[in-house]
């Protein structure tokens, strides 16, 4: 493999760094109050908030993971977009944003305090703060590992007289420090503006990759012919758990992924909701997720299709991969694909129980970059990867510093301080949040199981929260005790489900089954979907039951927080595309059309 970086590639990366920091510097003088720094002073135009909304979610894990999933399962991965994200984004914009934005809450946990009580907010604020900062660390680890595996920085690092392991350390340090720099300088506004810039860079880096790949395989028809059967269809085999690539039937897919997991993330996760709450008007806040839905719909072609191309492209010589481990996988032996075999830390190839090499799908995107991009474009492709990582990290950090400052520090540690003090705390939280993320990245490096465990915990926390918000916003009878004990029951149900089930082929332990194995799912994904369904249902039922036997809030306390007690916002804008409901209809219709076309 002869991919090397030249001055042009380094220049592109350095110019990008200069721009993101420059935007931070340009915004520094506007950061006068804690609201400017942590909430953007509610001044962001709709289209900017909309692009930031998806960009903050488009971390390195998303880009790498979606391509990996595309290489493994094919276009079925698009369910995460066309069945999951899009309907959820339409729902949050049309139905939920009036309460988030209209309540004047500064964060999602603060909405819970206004609607329910202090203990529900504390539970959400603390679990969210922990989760956000840990996932930022995990994402950082994933990115650094990937850059290390690309081996393109080995030569320059050696030229500097440093051992090769420094590629990993420097990847983490440099990208974390630059992200810290621009968030510290310009707060949420800087994170959002940079997310828009990063959005365009990510598109600029991946679009030519897809274009070259499709040219290479002979267009879409060539891709259909070259990829494994059914890889270019979304709904193929989905009718039964036996034939579905995810190992889950239509109900589990629609309810688990389409409803619970997607709505829980897009409608309640402060990381994304924060972008809409920074918008400059109610109308802009409601349009934010709807504007975001348009590019989000096209993203499967940008992030999943490269993964499919990576298994379908003809490889007359297995240059790119064979050199690394000298193992030619089955697909490559037939002259297709550039997904390499997985090697462990000692450089040994990993084999599954059938004696076939285990494939390292996470390398789909990086190998595609190296395969198709010459020096020059390679720099741009790397910049796109860095941009995706940094936008995801900045999203985590800005959500963390706001929840920490307003929902933990101001709420429980120092309630009556001056705004200047909270502005200082916002800055300080940005700094120590980054430090904890870096520490979490190294923990993830040393204990791979901890990473699995954490991701599991995150799934437990989000799913029940959706039931709490739906009941809170649309049922005025839902009481504070109901919400709190409902949430706890939801976590409990997820944990018990995990203890009683196991994915096929896994050993009892972190993967589940530690109480007793009652059910074996075909895949880990099926187990996750069902855990979410049980967690949501438990929370939904317990919240209703407890609410009915406890004291409700008075109606006048809930104005602006609950659907039936809030004057309805009629958005009669003269142009249809500025009306949230009209936009929502277009978005959902387009998502249905995509599902039909690629069925």
């Amino acid at each position: 493999m002869n991919s090397s970086l030249a001055w042009i590639d380094y220049s592109i990366i350095i110019i990008y760094f200069a721009f993101v920091l420059g935007i931070g510097f340009a915004l520094k003088r506007y950061m006068k109050t804690s609201s400017d720094f942590l909430l953007s002073g509610r001044s962001i135009p709709a289209w900017v908030a909309g692009l930031a909304f998806i960009s903050a979610n488009l971390g390195a894990q998303e880009v790498i993971g979606m391509a990996a999933s595309g290489a493994k399962y094919g276009l079925a991965t698009a369910h995460f977009y066309w069945l999951g994200a899009i309907p959820a984004m339409a729902f949050v914009g049309i139905f939920m944003m009036p309460f988030y934005y209209g309540s004047r809450a500064r964060s999602v946990p603060e909405y819970l305090r206004l609607r329910f009580d202090e203990k529900t907010r504390a539970l959400n604020a603390i679990s969210f703060a922990l989760m956000t900062i840990m996932s930022s660390g995990i994402s950082m680890y994933a990115m650094a590992l990937l850059i290390e595996n690309l081996h393109i920085f080995d030569a320059p690092i050696e030229a500097l007289g440093l051992p090769k392991s420094w590629v990993f350390h420097l990847s983490i340090l440099v990208s974390a420090l630059i992200t810290l720099g621009y968030v510290y300088l310009g707060g949420l506004t800087s994170a959002i503006y940079n997310e828009v810039l990063q959005f365009f860079l990510i598109v600029a880096g991946f679009f030519p990759l897809v274009w070259l790949g499709l040219q290479n395989v002979g267009g879409w028809q060539g891709l259909v012919a070259g990829a494994p059967e059914g890889f270019t269809q979304v709904w193929r085999g989905m009718t039964s758990a036996e034939t579905s690539p995810f190992g889950v039937e239509v109900f589990g897919l629609a309810m688990g992924l389409g409803f619970v997991l997607s709505f829980a993330y897009w409608c309640t996760d402060f990381l994304v909701v924060q972008r809409a709450m920074a918008a400059d008007s109610m109308s802009a806040a409601r349009r934010t997720p709807l504007i975001a839905a348009f590019p989000k719909m096209i993203f499967p072609f940008l992030v999943i299709v490269p993964g499919i191309i990576a298994v379908a492209l003809p490889t007359p010589t297995t240059d790119a991969t064979a050199a690394a481990g000298e193992v030619v996988t089955e697909a490559q032996a037939m002259g297709r694909g550039i997904i390499p075999a997985k090697v462990n830390a000692a450089g040994e190839v990993q084999y599954d129980t059938d004696g076939k090499p285990v494939l390292d799908y996470d390398l789909a995107i990086p190998n595609m970059l190296i395969h198709y991009f010459p020096t020059g474009m390679l720099g741009l492709g790397l910049t796109a990867l860095l941009a995706s990582f940094m936008s995801g990290m900045a999203g985590n950090i800005t959500a963390f510093n706001t929840v920490w400052t307003f929902d933990i520090y101001q709420a429980y540690i120092k309630p009556q301080a001056s705004d200047k003090h909270y502005l200082w705390m916002g800055h300080f939280a940005t700094f120590f949040g980054t430090a904890i993320s870096i520490a979490a990245a190294y923990v993830a490096m040393s204990f791979n199981n901890i990473m699995d465990l954490l991701q599991l915990v995150f799934a437990f926390v989000n799913a029940p929260l959706l039931a709490t918000f739906l009941l809170g916003m649309f049922w005025k009878r839902a009481s504070a005790h109901g919400a709190f004990y409902g949430l706890l029951s939801g976590f409990g149900a997820a944990i018990i489900h995990h203890g009683l089930t196991l994915p096929k082929g896994a050993t009892v332990g972190v993967k589940g089954g530690w109480i007793q194995v009652l059910e074996v799912y075909r895949t880990e994904m099926a187990q996750n979907f069902w855990a979410a369904i049980y967690a949501w249902t438990a929370c939904f039922v317990v919240t209703i039951v407890v609410s009915l036997i406890t004291k409700p809030h008075k109606d006048e306390e809930l104005v602006g927080l609950v659907y039936s007690l809030t004057p309805h916002t009629v958005d009669e804008h003269p142009v249809w595309y500025k009306r949230p409901a009209a936009l929502g209809v277009v978005v959902v219709a387009a998502a249905i059309a995509l599902n039909v076309i690629f069925r």
Binding site: I8, S11, I12, I15, Y16, F19, G22, I23, A26, L27, Y30, S43, I44, V48, T189, Y193, V196, L197, F200, L201, A204, P208, L212, Q215, N216, H371, Y372, F373, P374, T375, G376, M377, L380
Partner: protein, 74 residues
């Protein structure tokens, strides 16, 4: 906020696109084997052109937007 994000995005794309065009042109005849991996297409020049076009549009509207904003706030 007094900055219009379209202007810096436009500028960044103009600079990066320009760099790619220059580099692509310089390597077009001196090192054509470099483009074997991109199917014989000089992707540096072509994509550089697209980026410059996009950057120019963004910069134009961004600068116009910033001027409009400056006059309304004064």
């Amino acid at each position: 906020m007094a900055i219009d994000i379209r202007a810096p995005i436009g500028l960044l794309f103009l600079i990066l696109g320009g760099l790619l065009i220059v580099y692509g042109a310089a390597t077009h005849f001196s090192n054509p084997s470099m483009y074997a991996r991109s199917l014989g297409i000089n992707i540096n020049i072509w994509w550089g052109l697209v980026m410059v076009g996009f950057g120019a549009g963004m910069y134009y509207y961004g600068a116009r937007g910033a001027r409009a904003k400056a006059t309304t706030t004064e």
